[in-house]
């Protein structure tokens, strides 16, 4: 049936003149351009957010909101440490830096601050009216045990101290001076002091002999995402300008920086550098290759036309389906160049091998092989698209569309465009021929003994390799950070005493009070976790939002002060009696007036903490985020909360790593499916025996690649698996070209030689990239294509034999 279909198609295509074909192709290109233009006008864009590429974590809406809130808090922040030998120099330079950042003409930063004094006033202003509801643990104990001598004595001591905070204003409103301790209890322990509104610390020195240095901290938030290349440039420029203004004022000052911006900028720099080094080498290599083969620039022009139209189809169709194009799709998707260019090489090698054919005839001759190659490649990529992973679906659509574009170019544009006569350059054809003969005659085992030895070597290699093959799906491994940036970040982390991890606790309950109670119950648990060194620190709203139950009990305890014993207390402290009545009135007025979450997060004091409190939406629970820092043992930590259905440990990095692992396995499984699908398609055309052989070469290549990765101790990731699919796809093409060519394989061998070399130049070199994901992709292609190339001549033996019989 397929043969019949083929002859109909061939008959149809052979009747159309090359000029008409070109017209068809031009129409296709123009209409695609129009569709693309319409897409672009209607707001299609290139997505740069890496998270959009990753699969959606299937979490409850509340969890998703919590994740978004935490991300929002952590993203786009940057920290700058201003280092000087003298305290006041550090403080002054930091103030200057802040002023520079705030007044920069293009406002790229917001929330430029160090110590925020107005915030402190806001907290004091918020909590003071609620002081009758606030007591520390120790105060609760003293009041419930009626330890009046201790309570009054403690107050008296503060009154006598000239260096403390006791003064007329406070005493008249809080005679036992209980409020300051409560306010201080809100502050987490940390090592920073404040001078002139600037956070200040000493810088830890590696060398005890050097004089101590001081570091002042400045914080800022980028208005736009640090991952947007434009915003990145603007922010870096603004920062650079501000810092040089500071160094112009005081040359002794130095800086350390931390924040996503610097990681992102380093990645951009790295990419640029690699594009210019690796990119240049591969471009020069490919041009040299084409020149060597055909001694003409025409094939190169044709190759560029093929690739351009291929990319055009790919981009427009992806935009049509997804409405956006992810930058990573573009990066991985360009690997289809490796296949698209094969079509071009195959065409030219055929012409070189059969100089009697014109362009139209040559395109018709290779049509069956190319069509079959297209179908199998689309099937292979289509299987990628089955994964519920937005990134992989995009790559699948992108590559499939790109290949169709290249195919259509070959069928319709080549007959007219590539009709120029080729120089009769048999040079590379001869090399390919000699190579093939060498492989077949010398390397091919001639006796049973040598074949057994080869088999044994192969099996040992595979066994050892597969045995050592490990996987590592931790997405943090995928991030490459230059040591200089990491060191600065580590120093700042030390100064800022620890920090926050990406993991956090989400506590939820069906009412505000229930949630507050949950948070209160969590507190001792987290404190013991800190004692056991499971975590370094934690930050909960609990101390800011005590439960109504606690507030009511504190209010009741203070009744003893304001209603039962006020006269004695005032007498003991020597305070004027006139303050008694206003105090009693105030106490009564405060009855039933509780600190509520809503009031707090909408106040000037609570605004900054608002992201940690999640108000119910669409019938969800109330939620609160508890931030964790310095997590040492995540597994042990998670068991602490496993019994409590109201507390969840959210670990997005872990979740994504798990998903990556899942999709790595899925991709490898899809590889097997693609293999079976290819086998089925080939059986229709070649019969089962030849089909098995055609599939065997790429399958063995994949297996050997995996083994080699194992021996190289490269832990397997999703990106290795993705590259393996490509290796398989290219391998299938090679086999197919051989199988279709039957006897005349000189041209095929050269096409394969050129295709393999160009793929190695274009993608194999990516193995030397600094970015782990790209390097993994490149390394797999490097090894995989090499094996495929080495194995490909052997197909011919079988194809010949099978064709003969």
């Amino acid at each position: 049936m397929s043969v019949k279909l083929q002859s109909i198609a061939l008959g149809f295509l052979s009747r159309i003149s090359p000029t008409k074909k070109l017209a068809i192709w031009l129409m296709l290109v123009v209409s695609t351009l129009v569709v693309g233009g319409v897409q672009w006008q209607s707001g299609a864009k290139i997505q740069t957010d890496i998270l959009a590429m990753l699969p959606k974590v299937s979490e409850s809406p509340l969890t998703q909101r919590a994740m978004a809130a935490v991300e929002q808090q952590l993203a786009n922040r940057l920290y700058i440490g201003v280092i000087a030998a003298d305290k006041s120099e550090a403080v002054n330079s930091a103030s200057l830096l802040m002023q520079q950042l705030k007044t920069h003409s293009a406002a790229v930063f917001t929330d430029v601050a160090s110590a925020d004094i107005s915030q402190a006033q806001a907290l004091n202003a918020f909590y003071f009216p609620y002081r009758f509801n606030l007591l520390t643990d120790r105060q609760q104990q003293q009041l419930s045990q009626q330890q009046w001598p201790q309570l009054t004595q403690a107050s008296l001591q503060k009154l006598y101290s000239a260096f403390g905070y006791a003064n007329s204003g406070l005493i008249s409103q809080d005679p036992l001076l209980l409020y300051p301790d409560n306010l201080l209890a809100l502050a987490p322990k940390q090592a920073l002091s404040v001078q002139n509104g600037v956070l200040l610390s000493t810088l830890p020195q590696n060398n005890s002999h050097t004089s101590p240095k001081y570091i002042a901290i400045v914080m800022a938030k980028g208005l736009q995402s640090a991952f947007s290349p434009n915003a990145q440039q603007q922010q870096l420029a603004a920062l650079e300008q501000a810092m040089s203004a500071v160094t112009a004022d005081n040359a002794e000052v130095s800086f350390i920086k931390a924040g996503a911006l610097f990681h992102a900028a380093a990645a951009t720099d790295n990419a640029k550098q690699e594009v210019s080094s690796i990119g240049l080498i591969s471009l020069v290599g490919v041009i040299a290759l084409v020149w060597l083969a055909f001694r003409s620039v025409m094939p190169l022009t044709i190759a560029i036309i093929t690739l351009s139209s291929s990319l055009l189809f790919a981009i427009v169709l992806t935009l049509l389906v997804f409405g956006e194009l992810h930058l990573l799709t573009l990066v991985f998707g360009t690997s289809l160049i490796g296949i698209a260019i094969d079509y071009c090489f195959h065409f030219y090698c055929e012409r070189l091998n059969n100089p009697s054919l014109d362009a139209n005839q040559a395109s018709l001759t290779i049509l069956p092989a190319i069509s079959l190659a297209l179908v199998t490649s689309i099937v292979a990529y289509g299987s990628l698209g089955l994964a519920p992973f937005p990134g992989m679906q995009q790559v699948a659509i992108f590559c499939a569309a790109g290949l169709i574009g290249a195919y259509l170019t070959l069928v319709f544009a080549y007959p007219k465009l590539a009709c120029a006569k080729l120089k009769d350059s048999q040079h590379l054809l001869d090399i390919a021929d000699r190579y093939q003969n060498f492989m077949l005659k010398r390397v091919m085992p001639s006796s049973r003994l040598t074949s057994s030895i080869w088999l044994l070597v192969g099996m040992t290699f595979t066994a050892m390799g597969l045995n050592q093959l490990r996987s590592d799906d931790d997405i943090r491994q995928l991030q490459h950070t230059p040591t200089a940036i990491q060191q600065q970040e580590d120093s700042l982390r030390t100064v800022l005493s620890g920090g926050t991890d990406n993991q956090f606790l989400l506590v939820h309950a069906n009412s505000e009070e229930a949630l507050k109670l949950q948070l209160e119950q969590l507190e001792p648990l987290l404190e013991s976790a800190a004692k056991q060194q499971l975590i370094g620190n934690h930050f909960s709203l609990s101390r800011f939002l005590p439960s109504e139950k606690t507030q009511a009990s504190n209010y009741l305890l203070q009744q003893q002060i304001y209603l039962d014993n006020l006269t004695e207390i005032l007498a003991r402290l020597g305070i004027e009696e006139s303050i008694a009545q206003p105090l009693v009135d105030e106490y009564h007025a405060a009855n039933g007036r509780y600190i509520e979450a809503n009031t707090f997060i909408n106040s000037a004091a609570g605004q900054q903490l608002a992201p940690l409190w999640l108000i119910p939406e669409q019938g969800s629970d109330y939620g609160a985020i508890v931030m964790l820092g310095g997590i040492k043992q995540l597994d042990k930590l998670s068991t602490l909360f496993s019994n409590n259905p109201n507390v969840q440990l959210i670990d997005k990095v872990g979740e994504i790593s798990k998903l990556m692992s899942h999709y790595r396995q899925l991709t490898l499984a899809l590889l097997v499916i693609a293999l079976i699908a290819a086998l089925a398609i080939f059986t229709l055309r070649f019969g089962i025996k030849l089909a098995i052989i055609v599939v065997c070469v790429p399958a063995f290549s994949a297996l050997l690649t995996l083994s080699a990765l194992g021996l190289l101790q490269a832990p397997l990731t999703l990106f290795h698996a993705l590259a393996l699919i490509l290796v398989f796809g290219i391998g299938i093409d090679y086999s197919l070209f051989f199988a279709e060519a039957k006897q005349q394989t000189r041209g095929v061998m050269m096409a394969v030689l050129m295709s393999a070399t160009s793929t190695l130049l274009a993608f194999g070199l990516l193995a030397f990239s600094q970015t782990p994901a790209i390097s993994a992709f490149g390394l797999t292609l490097l090894i995989g294509i090499s094996f495929t190339f080495l194995l490909s001549p052997f197909i011919q033996i079988f194809t010949r034999k099978t064709a003969e019989c």
Partner: protein, 242 residues
């Protein structure tokens, strides 16, 4: 490190102890001496140089103090007596002996308080935000005040001076804190003396004030017993034997 931005809100609480002073109600003017003329006179470097010479600062000192605290809401001023030991290297021991005993040991980055029940409370400035303002600033200031280290004082205060004259050997030094937070809590300080410092007056915004008089100042090197007082456990034993 990213928790910092949330913590930031709370870090500011360090300042609150001092802010409370500022936020409380003002009371009527007191009958204290008016230092307006003093604070209107910006100190020149020559005057400060002269003062340094007059003071002949010593790296250590000990003596007695008498403190009057005038608080508007109290029926009568709080009068207390005690002694102090000061060493440029070790810090300050500030021991109140009457009407009840309590000790404050201010050392670099560390504040030790011993209350009348003998309970010791140690706060490391590096650990607790609450002590930062008090324990980091006060030792530096007292150190500088007691040793007459005008350079350090100039880093933290605007200085004004009423120099000694031939018929009045007493000088007065007015100090206005530079840090706005400290200024809110303690808008003005006045230090006066002749060859030694004699009086320190601390004003607070709401017309409360403290007047500390120093006496029996000894500037000889400290004895081992004096030095031992910087170690809280021993200070505590000493306190109990007294």
């Amino acid at each position: 490190m990213r928790l910092m931005l949330l913590k930031r809100a709370c870090q500011q609480l360090i300042l609150l102890t001092t802010l409370l002073l500022a936020s409380s109600a003002s009371f009527g003017a007191d009958n204290q001496t008016d230092f307006t003329t003093l604070f209107s006179q910006q100190a020149s470097s020559a005057e400060l140089e002269q003062l340094t010479q007059q003071l002949s600062p010593s790296p250590q000192a000990k003596g007695l103090f008498t403190q009057h605290r005038y608080l508007k809401v109290l029926k009568k001023p709080l009068l207390s007596h005690g002694n102090f030991v000061f060493s440029k290297q070790l810090g300050i021991v500030w021991q109140q002996q009457s009407p009840f005993s309590s000790t404050l040991i201010l050392q670099a980055g560390k504040l030790t308080q011993i209350d009348s029940q003998g309970q010791i409370q140690v706060t490391q400035a590096q650990q607790s935000a609450s002590t930062s303002q008090l324990s980091q600033l006060m030792p530096t200031l007292l150190n500088a005040l007691l040793s007459g280290d005008l350079q350090t004082l100039q880093q933290h205060f605007k200085l004004s001076i009423h120099s000694a004259t031939s018929n009045n050997p007493q000088w007065q030094l007015g100090l206005t804190p530079i840090d706005p937070m400290v200024q809110k809590a303690m808008p003005r300080l006045v230090l006066s003396g002749e060859t030694h410092i004699q009086t320190l007056i601390l004003f607070s915004d709401n017309q409360d004030r403290s007047r500390i008089e120093f006496s029996e100042l000894v500037e000889q090197p400290l004895t081992e017993q004096d030095k031992a007082r910087f170690s809280p456990a021993i200070a505590d034993i000493l306190r109990e034997t007294q």
